[in-house]
Each structure stands twice: as C-alpha cells, then as structure tokens.
C-alpha cells in the first residue's frame, strides 16, 4: 500500500467509525509487522447451499425456493474460494429476483404472516411505518448478518411504504421490500469488515460481526444465528473466552454435521453430480436414486468416522465400515440384510477382511463421479485423486498431440484400459503427465463407471497394481493404504479446510503457520477432524486481516492484465 492510500484509508476509518466496511484485494506476502500471518478479505457470493440454508433458518422449511442459481465457480479446488471471484450476471440476478419475490410473497401470505411478522399494521391497505420498521430491522439483521444502518433501514421502510401505496396492500409492499433485501448485494455477498486491532497497534482484524459470519459459515455453512449475533454485538467474540464459548457451542451443535458435509461436498466436487450422466443402456442399474445414494453413502461414512467415532482422518481411505442401501448393495455386489417394509433403508455395513473394497476411494461417489458416461477412466480418476485428495496439480495435456497410438476399446490388441494407456504413454510428450495419473487410476479399474465391482474388462483380467509417489501396491486396498500414509493427504486436508473457512488461497505466511502449527497440532491430535476445525476457529490467524487497500475502479483491460499477468504476485 502506498503512503497516500494508507493515509486516505485512515481518514475514512476515522469518518466511518465502527460500521466502516473495508473489502480489499489480496496483497503479496501477507506477513504482518510482528510476523503474525494475516489473510485477505474479499466479498464472497453466497453459495447455493448457503442461500438455501439461510432461507430455511430464517423463514422455516415451509417456505420453498423457486428458480435456479448462478453456477458456482471452483478456484484452487474449492467453490468456497471461487465465491470470492464471482459476481452476479444479469441472467443470474433475474433468477435471484424471481426467487426473492417468491420467498417474500410466501413470508407475507396469510399462512405465514402471523408467525413471521412481529406486528400487525393499523390497516391492511395503507403504509404502516412502525410495523414495516419492526419487521425489516429484525429480518434485515439476520439477512445482512449485522444490524442495518439507519440509512439502509430508512430506505427499506420507504420502499415498503411506496410499494404499499402503489398497490394498496400493506403486506404486498412489505413483501416487495423484503424481496429487495433478499436480492441486495449486502445479502448475496458476504462482505467482511476490518477494524483496527486494539491489542496490536497498527494491525487489523475482522470486526465482531464479520467474525461471527466467518465462524458460522465455516462450522455450519450458514449465517450466524441470533445467539452468535448477540455475542458479536456484545463484543464477546473479541475475547478469547467469549470466542471459545461460541466455538464450543457451534461445535457441540448437531448443525456441525451440516458444516462438515458442506466442506466435503465442496472438496470432493460433489456439485459435479448435478450434471453427471451415465449411459443407461449399458448401465441399467444407474438411476437418479443411485446417484443420490452414492453421495449420501460417502457423506454418512465421513460423518460417522470423523464426527461420531472421532476417527483418524487418514482412515477414511482404508476403513471397511460404510453404509448401504439395497441399490448400492446391488451395484457393489455385496450381501446385506435390510429391514423389511422400509423404503430405501440405510444400513451400517462393514466389508469383511480381505474384501476388495475399503475406504471412500472405492465408493461410487469417487469412481463414478470421475469416469466417462459409458466407461471408467483411469486417467480421470488418477487426476482426481491427485488434485482433489492430495492437492497436487496435474499439468494440462500439450497441444498437437497425436493420439494415433490409442486405439478404441474394440481393438483386440488392447482389451484393458492398462493396455490402451500403455500404448498412449509411449508418446514422449504424454508420458510425463500420464505416469503420475495412470498408475493411480488403474488401481481403481476394478470398478466400472458406476462403481460396480469387476475383475475383467473385455474378458481380460484387470491388473490393479501400481505406484504412487514411490510407494508400490498390488491392488486398490494397497492404494488406499498408500494414500493413508502419504503426507500430502493430511497436508491437503489442512489446506482445504482453512481455505474453505477463509475463502482464499493461503499466502506465504499463512502457509507457514499452517505447516508449523496447524498441521503439527492436527498430527498430535491423531488427525482428529474436529481438532482441526477447532484449531482454525479459535486461532488468531483466522480473524486477522491485512490492512485494506482501497482503489479506484479499474478498466476491463487493466483488470484483465492484472489478474492474468500478476498471478505470481498474487500467489
């Protein structure tokens, strides 16, 4: 930051007082004067799940959503990080507008208004300032995750009154003003606010309401509840004991499961299921219910292992314990006793020792999601394992590659994926990348494109042996063990969890803290996942922020050249 900018910022800070909101772009480095890491602050668009959760929390499950969301964007492996890159397009806002009006009209309808609106207007056909204010200030605080400023509240009340006057309907006017809140940028974007840190002169931290939001979205994937907002209002989140009390409460809540699921749904790219297609002629067992069951199986495995059993994160790759439905049991070809008379029952299941399946890698959610519609793909699976679970980047294939050596699956000389890929890898330009993907993905070839178990392909036996980062294995069980023991797996989860909460790629100093402190504590805990969550949620680092850098709006070209050209600096 230049001296001029900093001076300007400080002046504004003095003028704006406690409600000043400062978002700013990331800066290189990230170390504070005293060496404490400090992260970036950026506006983050609510994800689809967060939007749904907030509406459900505030208005209850009987208020339904219509319309569709803008696609979320994945950056650095997470939608949570991409959320800080995206805006709202015209077509997207059209949909938010539709949804906002649909939600608002339900909230003010005769069925809901007695429950959700804390007052009755003097007349149903005329504006009522006091009632509009009472409702909008209450709901506005929950939607904006902070109290509305006087100006914001005045504007919303005036809009409700104007809309009421135009339509001679108080509830319609109030509903439209509520719709305005639901499509306002203050709701759709999580805008974090920075304030000077009184404990460290010249340093900055998130203000209490921003802290509340970070905590709540991190642990519950939801906006702060009234109790957390109250703790923010009273300043309790700025004390160690107050923060710990709230973290304890959030982590003891059953809603922690929602947050943990949200994290893994994001990390494991389960958004891909919404458009996943399989050829139903070749795989008639594949239905939309199988798709849902496959995701739920992995979520249940994760939640049970990490939260209920408080197990070692690494054991997710080797555990024989999972959950089954009749449809999944049929695909995996396992015998499971299901209760009778229950529609699509879930049953805890443990694979027998020596079974060819164990760990989440062998579940349909992994091998099915990372496949072609009509066949498995060792390359896609190998790439996914490297990128999703080990946080390793596999380079893109080069241009102008000749694929003549790769024959189709009907070629009698190349019956299995291994044979076809080995032919492909004889091309020197391809070998470099394929040798880091294929030996990993080939270990999963015992699973077809929907996760069904098989021992042959086109009549030839499948060889599932391979090697990952120098560790050789004979089959997929060995692959699970190798991933379990691979330090990249635990380093990766530490990174991803922190990024999910903070919404940005860690800068250099944050990374150092994560390696030296966070990862070390995670290891000492026996790789207990809740311990990792707590380590982040109670850390100073999570809430410290770089000094804001404000600046004039830049042109298309300038922005493009900055983002494209200065990537190294941003990292």
């Amino acid at each position: 930051m230049t001296g001029t900018n900093r001076g300007g910022y400080l002046r504004r800070l003095a003028l704006c007082g406690a409600v000043a909101a400062f978002g700013f772009v990331g800066l290189a480095g990230g170390a504070k004067a005293d060496g404490t890491p400090a992260g970036q602050v950026a506006m983050r668009r609510l994800t689809q799940e967060q939007y749904k959760q907030i509406v459900n929390d505030i208005f209850g499950p009987t208020v339904t959503l219509g319309g569709r969301f803008e696609p979320d964007m994945r950056d650095a492996g997470l939608l949570a990080v991409g959320a800080a890159q995206v805006s709202v397009t015209a077509a997207g806002l059209e949909q938010y507008d539709l949804m906002a009006r649909s939600i608002a009209s339900q909230v003010v309808d005769p069925q809901h208004r007695a429950l959700l609106i804390p007052c009755k207007p003097a007349s149903d056909t005329a504006p009522d300032d006091a009632c509009a204010k009472a409702f909008l200030s209450k709901v506005g605080r929950l939607l904006y995750r902070r109290p509305l400023s006087q100006h914001e509240l005045d504007d919303q009340v005036a809009a409700a009154n104007e809309a009421t006057a135009k339509t001679n309907d108080f509830y319609n006017g109030l509903g439209l003003s509520l719709a305005g809140l639901l499509e306002a940028p203050q709701f759709l974007f999580r805008q974090e606010t920075v304030e000077p840190d009184p404990n460290h002169a010249g340093e900055y931290r998130l203000d209490a309401y921003s802290k509340a939001s970070r905590l709540s979205f991190f642990l519950w994937n939801a906006a702060p509840d009234p109790e957390l907002l109250a703790a923010a209002e009273k300043g309790e989140l700025n004390t160690d004991s107050g923060l710990k009390k709230q973290v304890d409460r959030l982590m003891a809540s059953p809603r922690l499961e929602t947050g943990v699921r949200a994290f893994f749904i994001d990390m494991l790219s389960f958004d891909g299921f919404s458009t996943l297609a399989k050829d139903t002629t070749l795989y008639p067992k594949f239905t939309s219910q199988v798709l849902r069951d496959a995701q739920e199986q992995t979520m249940r495995t994760i939640v049970d292992h990490l939260l209920v059993q408080q197990g070692d994160y690494r054991d997710l790759f080797t555990t024989r314990k999972t959950f089954m439905t009749p449809l999944l049991a049929s695909i995996y070809k396992v015998q499971v006793a299901f209760p009778e008379g229950v529609l699509n029952p879930w049953v805890a299941y443990e694979y027998p020792e020596g079974a060819p399946q164990a760990g989440i890698l062998t579940e349909a959610s992994f091998v099915g999601l990372h496949s072609q519609p009509g066949r498995s793909s060792a390359t896609v699976r190998g790439k996914a394992l490297r990128e999703v679970l080990l946080c390793q980047k596999v380079p893109d294939p080069p241009g102008n590659v000749n694929f003549n050596l790769v024959q189709d699956t009907n070629n009698p000389n190349y019956k299995t994926a291994r044979q076809r890929l080995e032919a492909h890898r004889t091309a020197a330009t391809c070998a470099g990348c394929h040798k880091i993907m294929d030996p990993v993905g080939l270990a999963l070839e015992n699973f077809d494109t929907i996760g069904g178990f098989r021992t042959t392909e086109n009549g030839a036996p499948i060889d599932a042996s391979g090697e990952i980062d120098g560790v050789k294995f004979a089959d997929v069980i060995g692959l699970g063990k190798a991933v379990h023991d691979n330090p990249a797996a635990t380093a990766c989860i530490v990174n991803r969890v922190y990024e999910f909460g903070a919404g940005h790629k860690p800068n250099k100093s944050e990374s150092e803290w994560m390696t030296k402190t966070l990862a070390a504590d995670f290891s000492s805990s026996g790789y207990k996942f809740p311990s990792l969550l707590r380590g982040i949620a109670t850390s100073d680092v999570f809430f410290r922020a770089m000094p804001p850098q404000t600046g004039a709006l830049e042109t298309h070209t300038k922005l493009a050249s900055d983002v494209n050209g200065n990537q190294e600096v941003q990292k």
Partner: protein, 446 residues
C-alpha cells in the same frame, strides 16, 4: 382484438391514458412499422441482431471448407447441411489462434481466444466475450440484453462472459426459456390493450432502494471487489430496464408471434436429446428476436470437451476424438464424423429457424449476424490452426453473404472485429498481443 392495421398512434396513446391514471413514459411512438413490415415508421430498418453459436471439437480438416475461395458454390461434406442457405452464409477458413508462448489449455484456449480476442494465460477468463461487447451497444433497449442457452443440459456450458470470472449461465430447458420470455411478464408488441401494472411500478421503487445503497457500499471496497459490485449493479440496471419496458406499450412488430410452450426432451448430452432441445431453443430464440425481446443470443450446441454421446455407447465424442482410429478407406474417424454431421445439422437448424420468420420481403436472418465458432481446428491433435468459422445472415445489409474467405494464417480475431464493426460497435482494432488485429474481412463488408 383490434386488427393490427387499425392501430395508430392516437389509439395507443388514448388506450394507455384510459387504462391507468398513473404517469408512464411514452412508448416508442416513433417506432411504428411501415406498411410492409420491413422498417420502422421513420424509415429506419428493423434493428440488427447478433448471436454466437458454439460447438465443441471442430471439424475434420479439409472436409468442411467450400472447395474454392470466393463465391460459395458448394460446401465440404461436413457442411453440406447448410446447402439450402449457401447464399446466406459465409465460411472463413485458414485462421488460427496464436499462443504467444502461453500454455495450450486444451479445449479452453481456442474457444476463448476466438471469443475474447485474447489467448488466456490460465484456465480463467477475465475479459468479456464478443457477444457482451456487442450487447452493450445494441442490447441496451431490449427486455433481455442477451439470452444464453445450451443444449447440453449443463448451465456452465456457456461461452459468454462478462469481465471478471462470471460466466453468463446458460438456460438448459427450452420450457424454462419459454416461460422466461413468453410467460406472464411478456408484453405482446401487437396486443391492442395495454395497461401498466402497478405491481411493476412497486417493484421499481424497491429496486431503487437497493440501488441507492450503491455508493455507500462501493466507496470502501478494493478495486477487485468494486468491479464485481459494479457488475452486480449493471445487472440490477438491466432488471430495472425490463421493468421500464413492461411499463411501456411496445412498438408493434409484424413478424412477432407467440410460440406455443415446448416440452423439454430429456436434458443431457445424449445426441438425440441435444439435437431436439437445440431445435426447440432455435425456434424460441428466433421468436424472441422477432418479438424484440432481445437482440443478442448465445447458443451452445455442445461443450468444448464434447460430452456428446450416443445411447448405448461407452464413448463420448471427446473420447472418440482422441482414441478412434482413422478409417484407412474413409480417411477420417467415422464415429467422430457422425457427431460432426449432427453438429453441422444443428447449425443448419439454427439458421433455418432464423430464416423461417418472414419479415417483409425477406426474413429475420437478413437482419441477423450469427457467428459460429469452436475450440479447435482438429480435435484429434488439439490443433489451433485452421479454426472453422462460419457466419450466417446479412446484419441488415452490412454483410455480404455466400462467400468463402480464405485467411492464410491470420488470427481468428479478424472475424470478431468484422462482426463487431458490422453490427455497429465503434472499434477499429480488437484483440491483444499476436491476436490483435485491425483488419476486418473486407471481402464480406458491404
């Protein structure tokens, strides 16, 4: 209902004032059509429209281009479906995408370099695509600044972006697109009755309250977040504009008819569904253009990493493109080529839909300019040479058609510049680095 010919300015004005006591902006009174429906009342031609049409994985080199440069007398076999429209389309061969040392990101670099004029440095696009540059000029007075659709069932298969990383999500369902355009909020330009809706006025005042907070929100943001907030407010202005237009009596458009609501086929990448849904989209978009609801459309037939497949086959178009052998007799990959024929058939469907709407002595296609582009010149090897490019329509007489332009290695951006100039974007140079060009295809400029 009052017959169209009996509508006059006085009747419209009287009808409006009688219909509501509220003040409304005057409608486009000077925009009435002339008697034969080819121009507005002041003699101006009906406005030019623009569209992009994207398909993934290109064509087979040497099998799509017309055999000779200049006037098109025939196409290569892979474009034979366009034969009925050979006088209304142009084909541009021989252009390429230049990397300037940047990584070749397969199925990404080529598509976006053609559509944004800049070869991306990473798997992210931060500058607007050509359709958005055009929409900002010609799309500001319509209900929808642009409409995006994809036949693949996946909303992220959109090849339209504004600056920043925001993709313009594509509509995946023809039925949903129908409701969006021709649902309750559609104002038939040829309807005799018009009464402004108080609810729309109420919604406007609410949006004003949101907009009023803009300055307060923006003043403390950093540059990157401020740009994203600006985009949000640009989107908000478009919603306001939609409401403004709902409060005005639209100018009659003789060619505008309301289509019937289509029923979606299964949404997904199976080729028959893709073709069917694309055809439904083509008809709806043609009607939307004829009814003045938008002037810019974006269509994705299939994504760059083509997920097209045939029911019962384990292979996708993309997998075939890399793994299928070239048939020694035919000289090309048969399965890949089968997908290609479906794609070019889809393009013919789109052109046909535009050409089927009669406007005066001509058709909607005459005032349209549709630019079709892809991600690669030869998918089998991810080539960025000889990128297939096609345009359809005469852009209201600003483009000559029936011409095969042979570019001899020029950057593909020459077409992006040409189409922008043809529809009235005031620029004389487009693209960056080696993709920068100030040369239009003068052969086709009227």
């Amino acid at each position: 209902m009052i017959p169209l010919k009996n509508i006059n300015r006085r009747r419209v004005l009287r009808g409006m004032l009688a219909g509501s006591a509220v003040t409304v902006g005057l409608p486009f009174l000077d925009c009435f059509l002339d008697t034969n429906g080819t121009a507005l009342a002041d003699g101006q031609a009906l406005p030019v429209c623009f569209g992009t049409w994207f398909w993934g994985l290109g064509f087979n080199p040497g099998r799509w281009e017309p055999p000779t440069a200049g006037k098109i007398t025939a196409f290569g076999p892979e474009l034979a479906g366009l034969t009925p429209y050979k006088d209304k389309v142009n084909v541009y061969s021989g252009t390429k995408v230049i990397l300037d040392g940047r990584p070749m990101i397969t199925h990404f670099t080529g598509d976006w370099a053609v559509l944004t004029g800049t070869t991306p440095r990473e798997e992210r696009v931060v500058i607007p695509s050509v359709d958005m540059l055009i929409a900002d000029v010609i799309g500001t007075k319509t209900r929808f600044r642009s409409l995006e659709v994809t036949s693949t069932g996946n909303a992220v298969h959109s090849y339209s972006r504004r600056e920043g990383a925001a993709i313009n999500p594509a509509e995946v369902s023809p039925a949903a697109l129908y409701t969006r355009i021709f649902g309750p909020e559609f104002k038939d330009p040829n309807a005799a009755d018009f009464k402004p809706d108080p609810q729309v006025m109420a919604r406007k005042s609410v949006l004003s309250a949101v907009k009023d907070q803009r300055d307060e929100l923006a003043k403390t943001l950093g540059a990157s977040d401020k740009a994203r907030l600006e985009e949000y407010f640009a989107s908000l202005r478009q919603i306001e504009q939609q409401l403004d237009l709902e409060l005005q009596k639209p100018a009659p458009l003789a060619a505008c008819t309301t289509p019937t609501k289509p029923e979606d086929l299964v949404l997904g990448s199976e080729i028959e569904s893709v073709k069917g849904n694309h055809k439904l989209f083509a008809a709806l978009l043609a009607h939307a253009l004829a009814c003045g609801q938008t002037r810019v459309i974006n269509v994705t037939f299939n994504d760059a990493t083509s997920s097209l497949r045939k029911q019962g086959s384990s292979m996708t178009h993309h997998v075939y493109s890399h793994e299928e052998s070239i048939d020694p007799v035919l000289g090309y990959q048969p399965n890949v080529t089968s997908f290609i024929m479906n794609i070019s058939g889809g393009l013919a469907d789109m052109v046909g839909a535009l050409d089927s709407i009669k406007e005066g002595d001509g058709t909607l296609l005459d005032r349209m300019l549709l630019m079709a582009s892809t991600d690669t010149g030869y998918a089998k090897v991810h080539s960025l040479d000889d990128m297939p490019l096609i345009t359809a329509g005469r852009a209201g007489g600003r483009i000559k058609t029936g011409i095969h332009v042979v570019a001899k290695g020029d950057p593909s951006t020459r077409l992006g510049l040409t189409v922008q100039q043809a529809v009235g974007v005031p620029i004389n140079s487009w693209g960056t680095d080696s993709m920068q060009t100030s040369k239009t295809f003068t052969e086709v400029m009227a």
